[in-house]
Symmetry: D2
Subunit: 348 residues, 4 copies
């Protein structure tokens, strides 16, 4: 019953197999191999248009590079207070871009459109001393296990674009959101106003496969220099490409995400019907947040369930009883139905 995180899981067998299949022989280094090119083609096919694809080592690298692509001197990028690039990346986006990150609130890990509009007023028109708003970052699926609808993405992206800002999507759990929305990659990104995408596959069954996807291929050259001078360019890049090859083959990526989401759905159902716990808020992707008191938490952990406590947003914290806290369960490709059933039994 390990629900600690999807990055505590290992690698799916197909991914491992692909690494082995490409281990022999020689291939051009630094992203110039045939396999790298084939994977870029695959991204273009999936997104139904020409895109530039830069393989990078981590989601933090993808996020920070994306923000840097959009950055200008005195620039400000805006994200949700709970966004990974705000809360969990140790200032990487600021450090690498040289700009500022500001945040807006919104329940369920999603930026509130009214709050965004209010925040953007300060930067419209731009005023030298304030700095200028250059990028909006949306996390899809959000850190709270929720997803933006296509309409919500369009609305938020539209606000940003009217001010000439670029719109970034942190898709560390892109596949989980896609499956939850039953949308196409194109619909959830450039067709809704996204310019830059952190495309994560590591949490969904790869061991290290992250990409920065640029919907404006004219940014490619700049992005390649940014990647190289930041130390993010793999020499044996084709082994990341190999993971993506297997990830996309036969729709594996969507299968793995659908499995994770289904497992999360079963966890949600079990919690909703349980007596000792309750859902902290609803969700659609592979993360589940629940409220329990400390005794229940201890019993669950003693029974072998592995999960983390989660610092809740104000509106949730205000409704907790004194002895209660919020906890997070994460399902992944590696989560098994028996584990979920075991957990369900514990909370029933």
């Amino acid at each position: 019953m390990n629900f600690a995180s999807d990055n505590w899981a290992g690698a799916a067998p197909q991914i491992v197999e692909a690494l082995g299949r490409h281990a022999a022989g020689f291939g051009a280094a630094y992203g110039a191999s045939e396999l790298d090119a084939a994977v870029t083609e695959k991204f273009c096919e999936i997104f139904e248009r020409e895109v530039a694809v830069l393989l990078v080592p981590t989601g933090t690298a993808a996020n920070a590079l994306a923000i840097t692509c959009a950055m200008k001197p005195g620039g400000i990028a805006i994200a949700h207070r709970g966004a990974h690039l705000v809360e969990d990346e140790c200032g990487a986006a600021e450090f690498l871009s040289g700009g500022r990150i500001e945040w807006v609130d919104g329940v369920g890990g999603r930026i509130d459109p009214v709050a965004l509009a209010g925040h953007l007023q300060r930067y419209d028109p731009p005023f030298l001393h304030h700095g200028r708003a250059v990028a909006l970052s949306l996390t899809q699926a959000s850190e709270a296990g929720t997803v933006y609808s296509l309409d919500e993405i369009r609305e938020l992206a539209g606000q940003a674009r009217r001010l000439g800002m670029s719109v970034h999507m942190d898709g560390a759990r892109f596949a989980n959101a896609l499956v939850a929305l039953d949308a196409s990659p194109a619909q959830m990104t450039w067709q809704a106003g996204i310019d830059l995408l952190s495309f994560g596959a590591t949490k969904n069954g790869c061991w290290c496969a992250e990409a920065l996807v640029l919907f404006d291929p004219a940014l490619r050259e700049t992005a390649e220099y940014l990647r190289k001078r930041s130390g993010f360019l793999f020499s044996k890049s084709r082994f990341v490409a190999a993971q993506f090859e297997a990830y996309f083959a036969g729709g594996l990526w969507l299968e793995l995400a659908a499995h994770a989401n289904a497992m999360a759905g079963q966890l949600r159902a079990a919690i909703s019907s349980g007596k000792r716990v309750r859902l902290a808020w609803p969700g659609q992707a592979n993360e589940v947040f629940f409220v329990a008191n400390r005794e229940t938490e201890m019993k669950l952990q003693q029974a072998g369930a592995r999960f983390h406590e989660w610092q809740p947003p104000h509106e949730v914290a205000a409704k907790l009883a004194e002895n209660e806290a919020v906890f997070r369960l994460v399902a992944s490709f590696a989560t098994s139905a028996p584990e979920v059933a075991a957990f369900a039994a514990l909370v029933s």
Copy 2:
């Protein structure tokens, strides 16, 4: 006959096997797994002392982090003009450290002690307007396929340490140098005055295994923040650890390097006795540099030999005939004796 680069090679079977062996199950993310801890222990054993080990995605990342660990405001790091961090890392060390890189010359890719002493005079005593010398970086094995002797390392490191500078070793080809010198890791590093080491395994049979090794473990906390805020911290770090586990097991790393060096030695011998080509300079590690005219180059390439032209240093360029150029052959764990024999036949 692919001698293009050791990073064009794939991954050794033992490395691939280790990845598969650890693919299942769960492990703590971000370097906190048991496997990560075991690999750190192994590094301590190999270096015969406590060291801090930070796994990172690329050699450029390791070099830039090392320089940043040593950096101070207004600081200057000094390396050989041909060092990878000067010539081939797109300014990463400057960008990430905020400091300056200066270079000194020396034949065979090695810093000349007299040139270094002359250069350091400018910074002794420090003068605010000049900036201050904070680090010396030595590449072992050098980009020219040569190695510093232990005495040479001690001499250069000693000069730097007398000025309070830190000494970094870029060990992208650490194992090749170690085998060439028949020295222990401790002798070639901290016992000779090295403070910070970029320990590379990618070129020697891994697909992605680089580490920053700190001989002063008190730097660990700072280095961990630097790594995280630079986007270099792998979530599924244990898959890099898995590669290192296999790399060290049973001395695999030294075997692979010994093989590569031996293949390079045979290439050197073939070139030395060949009529159409000559060695550009002697060497000890797994890179071989030779002079040929354009007709010979074309014949070799047409016969299937894959290698790159190399921009020679001034002292070598001055002795080339008009139609001649310098070319580089790199041997790796994946280089086979028949390939080497085939090349030897072509140049004989």
Copy 3:
């Protein structure tokens, strides 16, 4: 009736006279002149202890250098949402320090101790992914024309120091606060827990006289390198020193600030007793904020009063009538009693 800003004023006659007095002759450049040394001595005398003093071109430079002195990799500095370094310095502190600025709220431009305590919980104990809290910045007098009491400074600084953070005071209007509190420079700074001070004199009658004051002189060397490599070291530094010489002579600085505060006090009294306007909030220093409707604003401007609209904090904005806005008046050494009387007549 020019109340636009204290940096719209010119230079006090004594300051101008000092520049002329030192114009002839020669003096060592880059802060090494006798006059520079004498001014440092004067700072030590005023603060009743040894301090390091770095003359810099702007308040933004002083603030950013101060934050940089306290910065560590992954570091976070915390200030009031309305602080100059958050709202009006175009991201300089982030850019120059490489770290992040976060903000907390509090009415009247002052950080609320409870809000600060809540915010700091996130960083206690430090967690690599979050970054670490390294500095607290207090603005004295605040951007809202208010001042922290000595007890309030001690309370906030104490919270920060318990976490090992440095405490910075943005004293762009240091003298105005000092006069308002009737405190000594020592009491308002290091005796209350301040480590780093931006000491501003430009707004109070100099034309360009800003200093970074370090209460830990051991930081001097680092700060000097930071200043030089940021382009903040004046060559003819002694002309800034000359301004400070005159500024301190005979207590001129306190006289000028007392005058500005008194003028602001008269403006407050006039507004309080006026029928068409009301104070937006109380204040103690040389800035006055009032509420008026658009017709009144227009009449005032047409009558020759020069002032700016001010974006009010939420708690004030919520109480405005539809046609109302908040406006700022700034008094300075150059504000005359007849001007104030004329304005008083307009609003009575």
Copy 4:
């Protein structure tokens, strides 16, 4: 006999007078005053075209901003080894631009065109790993007291422009060079291929008057954000403008420079005809370099001559006798004929 540096001199009476004249009254802050606008107009007139003008605190600030305007990710700026931004600015250009500075040699402080052509080969065509050459910086007058001819500027700038690089002129001693060449400001800058100019007036009789001049006004917005976020934007900017007003009025700037150059010329003549000393190399601007042995140096210093030793370039150092060194004399607007005559008598 103070020949230590032109930045040891004070301020010319006309400059002091202008500061006093503008001390009263109010003016818009941050460069928005009428006086700021008038000075920009004056720059346009002097350069015979529209230019953008940004007043900044120091020559280092102007140089670093100029390089940053031209910088791209992975970018490299090239200057003479002895350039101020290479040797005497503590890494400011690297720090603020995030890029690298490389240097080329050339006798007399001027870049050798053949050396530049050789150096640029490495970056033509650009190669990701090397970084890319984005700017060339020429110092006019050079740090060695020499000046580039218009033809030389055109030749060097032309090489850079053919690679798409921007060309910067460090004009800390712009007026001295202009007078030495008897050229117009337009001829010596944009008509010869200069894109960005650090226009220095501090060394020539102002106390703090430096400007970044952009010959492509489209860069203005970016440069203004760069200046602000670097802490270089003066609040009471009009006091720098006041200095420039007086500096240009009636050709004062050229008079002051002509005087300094003439004084330097007399020093050169005295040294040339002296028995105990000799010129280290010829020169045209206001710096004079001479060779003397240690006894002569001591006698000169004891007689009251104030000057600094200078680290000579290799080609000069090689010709020194054992007891000899190179020394620098700098003449300025404040250098008097009697002082020069006194020095001449000492060396005759």
